[in-house]
Point group: C2
Chain length 394, copies 2
């Protein structure tokens, strides 16, 4: 078996939803899967032990942030990101493309690469397909993403088309460099391609077809959830997923709310990442099956008998009342951020785990409908902040 | 057996050090014991599960802070502080005396009590012996401290003498009110008296003798570590401890560094609390048996092979290198504060646990000498900040 084989266990008869297993050098990953975001070599506020207890089997690292601080060369000297962060599960690193194209002060974008300034200290750096492959080999994640050009949602057709062309040229250079570079830590790494093309279906098709011809072990859908309306996100995700090979995992980058994830699964997506569960937690917002809870709400002040979510089995909900969590949050206590983050990550992981069970039992469509109703469409789209913590939007 | 019986297991033949067991409604507590400080109903940055895993059997709550936020009436409605904070071990609450006498804007101190302003919102509050007993009964800690007057270290003899007189009158009123008030949560609470008297031995003796005549279940030494030199702290602690009954626990409030705690144990102290392990952690400072580690130090940048303390068995030292901890701290990650706090609390708890073993085996004096040498007298005295987190200085 190839180290990154994807075993498709079941396809839902009523939707495009799939249940599978993605094999990695750090263990098998049941799909659909949600990947918590660990921008700076830590999923904010959580320990590796807690992530493991929540059921996380793969987490994200951000190439842009880790290259700048502490530096990928330092992480290589530490023995790789797994060892540095003491994470025994699988890892995926983005390529930094989304970040460097989001930054101001980019002095120069050429076919060679992108020259940009650090948001930390203003120092200058250069990302090219070759440079990014070297960084991602130093970091040593199981899955590494190709370096791509990410145009903004408001870009015109010519801009999006040229970004697709460049992303394809860069994907080929990434594949060549990835093949040339050694694996530093005794296990192989899988290079995933990223389909760009904005909301223009012919460009998505062209990009997908050329990447598929490269026979990569997995494919991501990038450039969504960057400001377009949600109907377009869902439409393009469905359109693009249907173009991709059934025997490879499909990853929708940077998406999204619990409802977005259910809609993505419905459209044939296998992998997700998003900062919402962690970032919202630090802003006092918890996801529950009955919609979002704002822990600052005075209505919780004397609610001693209920946790965030009565049906949740996480450490937070098993031990602490809404009143206690509100007190901790209002008093500025770190434990508030920890407990809310733990709950939110647990909620996301349980959501995809349950989706998988429902796909396997043939009940996905009905369950999804009732779950969406329960979530009450309280979807909030949030912009990524490159200075803080960022998921991957390709 | 009385619920707060203190069993003295061994007294060291070479020093005044003692090993004992203090029984409480929430389990027996081996002494000497260190009590982590949980000012706002949480030991900052730690979960109750982590405290339990570190071996904490009793933690502190602060009456002043909890009265102001979320309010002791709210905590009573929640079923008491144990239930509110989901803490299954024992609890001790200070009386707030140290805080209200430290605050500016105290408009009026009379024999009746202290009228003061909240540091949070400027609202006015009144603490008297009776009011504090009502609050401490609402909070429901196993051990509650008498309301006392805490003069500053620079107070003159007349001021210290009048504070002793008033503290004795207030202790009697506390005992009366404590006897009159019901226990709200189905278990008894123990009222400890606090010996004041600054560094003036005749005043310490007078205060101790009158409190001993009240036959309280335990006695604290307050008003030390408030600015006097460390030799005076040790001298007065030794002098006062020797006055106290051997069959009752002795608690040195708000002390101190690891070296201070060893010196306190040497002088016959059984119980300690201090914010140093938690506060220093958040400032990037870790306690180890080889002295303090400043995690920001650039020397740790590429130290991948060593944890904070090679001989430590805590989660932090079992999993993370100095380089990783430094990266997390420099990047402003919450996990840095968590891991450093966990280590420091583990270090303090292991220090007193080891001291107890050495007392039982008759090796305390020799072990203490070598440990003090190892700690390299890197003792740093820090001022309490009533706005943040405060131990008890009586």
């Amino acid at each position: 078996m190839h180290p990154f084989d994807f075993t498709l266990e079941k396809t839902d008869p009523h939707t495009a939803a799939r249940a599978g297993v993605l094999h990695t050098p750090h263990g098998p990953i049941d799909t659909p899967v949600f990947m918590p975001v660990g921008t700076q070599a830590t999923v904010k506020a959580l320990s590796p032990a807690e992530l493991d207890q929540c059921g996380a089997r793969i987490i994200l690292g951000n190439t842009y942030h880790l290259h700048l601080r502490p530096g990928d060369e330092l992480i290589r000297a530490a023995g790789g990101l797994h060892k540095f962060a003491s994470w025994k599960g699988a890892l995926l690193t983005d390529s930094g493309g989304y970040q460097v194209f989001s930054l101001r002060d980019i002095s120069k974008i050429t076919d060679e690469g992108v020259d940009f300034q650090s948001h930390i200290d203003g120092s200058r750096h250069f990302f090219s397909p070759e440079a990014v492959m070297a960084i991602e080999h130093n970091l040593g994640a199981d899955i590494i993403m190709a370096f791509d050009e990410c145009p903004p949602a408001r870009a015109n057709t010519a801009h999006i088309e040229s970004a697709v062309e460049r992303s394809l040229r860069w994907a080929a250079r990434c594949a060549d460099e990835h093949a040339r570079l050694p694996a530093h830590y005794g296990f192989p790494q899988a290079l995933f391609g990223i389909v760009q093309g904005g909301t223009i279906e012919p460009l998505r098709r062209r990009c997908a077809e050329e990447l598929i011809a490269m026979n990569l072990p997995g494919y991501a859908i990038g450039g969504l959830a960057v400001g377009e309306d949600i109907a377009a996100t869902y439409r393009v995700a469905a359109f693009t997923a249907a173009l991709l090979p059934t025997d490879k995992p499909r990853y929708l980058m940077g998406v999204g709310t619990p409802a977005d994830i259910l809609e993505g699964i419905d459209r044939g997506i296998d992998m997700f990442d998003c900062v919402l569960p962690t970032r919202n937690a630090r802003n006092g917002s918890a996801f529950t099956r009955n919609g979002k809870v704002n822990i600052r709400n005075a209505a919780h002040t004397r609610n001693f008998d209920h946790p965030l979510d009565d049906s949740c089995t996480c450490y937070t909900c098993s031990n602490f009342s809404l009143a206690y969590l509100r007190h901790l949050y209002m008093a500025g206590e770190i434990l508030a951020l920890r407990l809310l983050t733990l709950h939110n990550v647990h909620f996301y992981l349980e959501l995809v785990t349950t989706a998988r069970k429902k796909i396997l039992s043939g009940d996905f469509a009905a369950w999804k409908s009732s779950m969406l109703e329960s979530l009450q469409s309280k979807t909030i789209r949030e912009e990524a902040d490159p200075g803080l913590e960022v998921g991957s939007s390709g």
